[in-house]
Each structure stands twice: as C-alpha cells, then as structure tokens.
Amino acid sequence: MKGKISGYQIRTALKLGLLYLVLFAFAMAFILPFFFLLTGSFKTSSDLFHVPFRWLPSKFTFDNYKQVFTKIPFFRYLKNTLIIVVFNMIGALISNSLIGYGFARLRWPGRDKVFMIVIATMILPYQVTLIPLYIMYTKVKWVGTFLPLIVPGFFGNAFFIFLMRQFLVGIPREITESARIDGANEFRIFWQLIMPISKPVLATVAIMSFMNSWKDFLGPLVFLGSDKLYTLSLAASMLRSNLNPNWELLLALGVVMVLPVLILFFVLQKYFIQGITMSGIKG
C-alpha cells in the first residue's frame, strides 16, 4: 500500500515536472526575443552581426541610445505621440462605454442587427477607406493636423464596442432595475452604477486604445503633413537612412518604444487581465 502511494506520488511529481519543463520552454521562447532586443541595443554593430550569435555584448555601449535621442527629434515625436494617444484614450473610454451600454443594456428595435453591422466593420481593411477619407479630411482642412488621428476615436471602435458590450451584458439586470423603477434617468444609471463596476473592461479598452495609437504607422504617415507632427512609430523610418538601416539604432529605438507600453501594462495589469477575461468569453 505504502509503495503504491509513493509510486503514484512519483508519477504525479514527474508529470508536474514535465509540465513545468514544457511551460518553461515555451516561456523562454516567448521571452528570448526581448532578451535579444535588450542586449542587442547595447551592442556595437560588429557584435550584433557576429556569427555565431553572441548572447551578450562583448562591450556594452550606450552609444545607440545616445544616437536615437540625437539623430531624430525623439522628444518631439514622443510629445506628438502622447497627444494623439491621450486624446484617443479619452475618446475611446467615453464613446465606447456609452455605445456599449446602448447595445448591452437598452432594448431598441433592430439592435441586434445593427450590432452585426458593428461586428462586420471589424473586417474592413483600412487601406480601402484611406483615400476617400483623405479626400474628405482635405476638404475640411484636417490634413496636416492631429484631427484625423483623434476625432474618429470619439465615435467608437467596433472592437472596443464589442468588448464593452460583452462585459456589460454580463452584469446582472437586477443591479439597474431598481434604480430604473425609482425613476433614475438612464445616464445616471450608466454613470453612477455601471461605470464604477466596469473598471476592468475600461482598463482593457484604455490599454488597447493606447496600443493602437502608439503603434499606428500608416495613419500618422499619411495624415500628418509635417515632420514636426510625426509620431514615434514613424521614428524607425526616419532613423534609417536610404541605404543603411542602422540596425543597432533600430534595436535601441525598439526598447524605447516597448518600455512605456510595458510600464502601462504592469500598472493596469490586474484590471486589464480581468477585463479581457470577463468580456471575451461569452461570445
């Protein structure tokens, strides 16, 4: 009897060990490119291209970072990016929570059909809408300003509406029903009852909207007429010269571009994962 138990324990332990090993290997595979990014940004170009691959720089250099900050107007790009990012986050939070609420907790004729249209717009390739939009923005004199990159954010985004709706549908009706019977107007219910308990999904929308505008390349490229308005995602193109890509500088730029997102993620991590968890699943 005793032997049998220990055999079982050994098998369980082995299985667990194996599981750890597999997961650990996967985790390593996921994290290694970052290790490469970080170490690469401290390498000289001859180190970087060394065959066989060098795990660590033979000589740490901060030169790449120095060049990133001096060769391009880094802080101006950062400022521009932040302006766009912040307005987009505000716009996304306000508009998508309202719209999501309208789809999730209020009944009106044709609602579910309209929601299907919302889903359908997720599939649209933006390349096709680019030229008509550009012509439209030119007519209202928006090209060359931040407006084309900011204003649409205030009118909802299909993916965020979807997230919001999924989350809000999951909140029990009873929570709002009594307030409604008491005659509270819908906006108050939305603002005072629903929003406070929607923090997770709001955090998710905030991060995702941050990332969308943080990494948007084509939008800034096409709509920002002046290089004084350029954003960080264009920095890579501005940093490489026409023939020489300057790889070591690009890696340093990569680190600088990933860091803010990581910081934001770790700050909001608890809410964020909760937000995705609670909204994505109930299809």
Binding site: S45, S46, F49, V51, K71, Q127, L130, I131, Y134, I135, Y137, T138, V143, G144, L218, L221, V222, G225, S226, D227, L234, S237, M238, L239, R240, S241, N242, L243, N244, P245, N246, W247
Partner: protein
C-alpha cells in the same frame, strides 16, 4: 478704346515679364555643414517660400538639411526660402502618402525621390508638372545631361523629372579569393562565358553537398532589381517607339535562361540559407564581406558599405560582363530625381526649380559624390569632383562606364512600377521552379502587361 488699353497693358506685362524673367546669376560663398562652398545664385525677380518633400532620412537627412540651409543662406537676400519635410519611403511615393496628397491637393511644391521608376509612372499619369518652360526661365540647361538619364527625364517628349545625380552598376570581386582559386585578379571576366567560368571556379562545395561559398549569385544585390541586368545584357523591356512591352526578345529570354541555369546548378534553398543579409548591402554579414560570395553585381554605393563594415576586405570592380549582343562597359542608371507636382502654381514652381538648379552644382553635390561615389549627370562635371582630382580608380572606371552611349534607365512606361514588381515575381518563380519554361512565362507576362497599356 478699351481694346487699346488692353493691348497696352499686355505689352507692358510682356515687357515686365521679359525683364522680370531675365535671370541674373551671381556667385556667393555660403556654409554647407562645416565647409564653405561657392554657389551660383539666380535672381528671377521673384521671392517667396516653397514646400519640399525630401526622401532622405537618417544620416542622409543630415546632408539634406545642410543643403537646405545652404540654399536658404544663398537666397536669403532675394527673399526665397525652402521649407523641407522629410518623408520616408521615397517621399511617400510608394506608401500612399504622395498619392493621397496629390488626390487631396496638398502635395508639396517640390520633391525628390530615390525611386525613379515609380516617379516616372507618376509623371505618365499626369501627377507632375511639365518642366521645360520652367527650366528655361531659370536657365537650367539640361541638354548636356547623359542621354541615359534623359530616359527618365522625358515622358512623351516633355520633361517631368530632373536627376540630381546618378549611380552605375559594376561587378565587385574578391581578388584574394580569385587568386586562391587560380584565377588572375588582374583580368576579371569580360563576357558571360568567362563570368560563368569564374563563378564555377570560385564556388566551394563541401563533402556533405552544402556550399561554403558561391562564386556568383546573379540575383543578389542589384541583380535583384527588376531590369538592371536584363538591360545590361542587351534587353529593352519597353519599346518606346512602338509603345509596347517586350519581354520576349532573345536577350531577355537568354538572360532568364541564364538566371535559371544558376538555379539549376545550385539549389536556391541552399543559397538562401546563408545569403539573406539584414541590411541589404549595409551589414557586416553581407555575403560578399564574409567571403561567402566572391562576386556580386552592385552599385557604386557599395564601396561605402565596404568602407564602413568591412574595411579590411580586399575588393576590386570591373564593368558587368555581358553576353553577345549585350551592352559592353555600360550600366543602367539609378537616379535620385526631382519633380514638381501638378497643381503647383507657376510662381512656386519657378522657385522650386531654383532649388533643383542649386542642387545640380558640383560644390553642393561634392559630399554626396565623395561619400557614395555617386556621379554627376554631366560628364564635364566629373573634373570638379575631388575623387577625380585625387585619381580615384573606381571613380575613373565609373566615369568611363557612365560615358557609354548605351546607358539608360530601362522599362520606363505608364505601368513601370507594376511591371518591375511582376517581373521580379516572375524571376523568383523561375528560380524556384526550374522546370518552367522562361520563354513561355515571359510571353504570358508580356501579354498581361501589354493589355494594361
């Protein structure tokens, strides 16, 4: 009465215009970077500011900014200045930015791009302003430009583009490896048979069938450009007189068959396993620098890459060897071209053209020439370049090649961008499918592209 006044006014205007347009040139000393250079300043009796999109980014942007500052300094007294924007990806010519701007009427007054093929297509589509009159007004004489450059300058007899400089393609080879393989480095190959013999002699295959070195990979570097090699090999992909695309000439079919013969000789998958350089030509792991290929076709700019990343590697250059019927000691030109988008007012266009004229000067281009070994678009201008004065051998060879009357820029037509892409695709398909017949495939593409014209 009324009529007479009008006539008088017209005469007055004409008088004013002629006097106003008589360009006056003077020489000035201005700063460019940390140097002082002599430049010519042309007074056309107008002043103002114009916008300019430059395709130069990164380190090249530093140079462009110096040039812009020099221009603004030179023209400050005349009240003329340029407002430069750096627009990546060839001044937005390939990524939708320029097209959107033209569609929306927000294009700049002037632009420079490193993609002459696409620029030509824009010109053919009517996106750029005709320049003949403007160039005459500001007295920029382009008649001495290399005939090869004129291919890209004129569409349908009208000038739309002006090259700032040009480049030539040569064969780079490693004399140390050649000597090792028992070849004479002083007598590089001059025709395709010799080239093939060199390629075979320089190729090193291991016992397990893998390769540790290739003599030549004909689709590496500039060999990867759509029409550079076919052109030097004698093909004319677009027949301007007949207005049709010709991909089935003997020269073209021979070229493609030749390319395929390399794919048959060496398994292309094996070639891939060690040739994909990260920076194209600008990384220390480039196969030529590491000795994994002994010969390669590329432009004069590669000397700068070698200087930066492989200063110890010994190399030499020679004209691209050609088959029978090829263009001997010749090259296709690769230019950076200026253009003035359609819709720019005449006044702005003339100011913009002054910048073009400014940039054509040897003193302004000197750094560009010295660093990249780019060459002027006029033969006489070579004399003033420091490389010529210093007796640089490669530069002398470039001048010799540039002087060939057979040079040109191939396949420029109203569908040139798509033609290049489709042709490159076809070549890759033939490389990876050696059982396909080049002649038949080329015919299919030719018909498809001609249908679009």
């Amino acid at each position: 009465m009324k009529k007479r006044i009008l006539t008088a006014a017209a005469v007055g205007c004409a008088l004013f215009l002629t006097t106003g347009l008589t360009a006056m040139a003077e020489t000035k000393t201005v700063h460019m970077g940390d140097r002082e250079i002599e430049v010519e300043v042309t007074d056309i009796g107008k002043s103002g500011t114009f916008t300019y999109w430059s395709a130069f980014t990164g380190d090249s942007a530093t140079w462009e900014q110096e040039r812009v500052d020099a221009f603004n300094e030179a023209y400050a007294d005349l009240g003329i200045s340029v407002d430069v924007q750096y627009v990546p990806d060839g001044a937005g010519i390939n990524n939708g930015k320029l097209l959107s701007a033209i569609a929306g009427g927000t294009a700049p007054d002037l632009l420079i791009t490193d993609n002459p093929t696409s620029a030509y297509q824009y010109a053919a589509e009517g996106c750029f302003a005709p320049l003949d009159g403007i160039l005459e007004d500001i007295e920029l004489d382009v008649s001495d430009f290399y005939d090869g450059c004129k291919d890209v300058m004129y569409y349908d007899g009208t000038c739309y583009l002006v090259p700032q400089d040009t480049n030539v393609i040569m064969l780079y080879y490693r004399p140390d490896l050649a000597a090792e393989a028992g070849l004479d480095p002083d007598n590089p190959p001059t025709n395709v048979e010799e080239l093939d013999a060199w390629a075979d002699a320089l190729t090193v295959q291991e016992d397990d069938g893998s390769y540790s070195r290739f003599g030549l990979i004909p689709w590496l570097d500039s060999g990867d450009d759509a029409f550079v090699l076919p052109f030097i090999f004698g093909a004319d992909p677009y027949l301007a007189d007949e207005g049709r695309i010709d991909l089935t000439s003997d020269q073209m079919v021979n070229y493609m068959t030749w390319i395929q013969s390399y794919a048959k000789k060496y398994d292309p998958e094996k070639i891939n396993a060690f040739t994909s350089g990260l920076g194209g030509m600008f990384s220390p792991d480039h196969a030529f620098m590491t000795g994994k290929v002994a010969m390669t076709f590329t432009g004069n700019w590669f000397t700068e890459a070698l200087r930066q990343y492989a200063p110890d590697v010994e190399y030499r250059v020679c004209p691209v060897p050609v088959p029978e019927g090829g263009r001997v000691k010749s090259s296709s030109f690769g230019c950076n071209v200026f253009a003035i988008p359609e819709g720019t007012s005449e006044e702005q266009a003339e100011l913009a053209a002054l910048y073009i004229k400014f940039c054509e000067q040897g003193s302004v281009n000197e750094d560009n020439f010295a660093q990249w070994r780019s060459i002027p678009v006029i033969d006489a201008a070579f004399d003033d370049v420091s490389l010529t004065k210093n007796g640089d051998e490669i530069y002398a060879l470039e001048r010799e090649i540039a002087a060939s009357p057979e040079n040109g820029i191939p396949a420029l037509c109203a569908v040139s961008a798509e033609l290049s892409t489709q042709f490159q695709n076809l070549r890759q398909t033939l490389i990876y499918n050696t059982d396909l017949d080049p002649a038949a495939e080329l015919k299919t593409l030719e018909d498809q592209m001609n249908a679009m014209l």
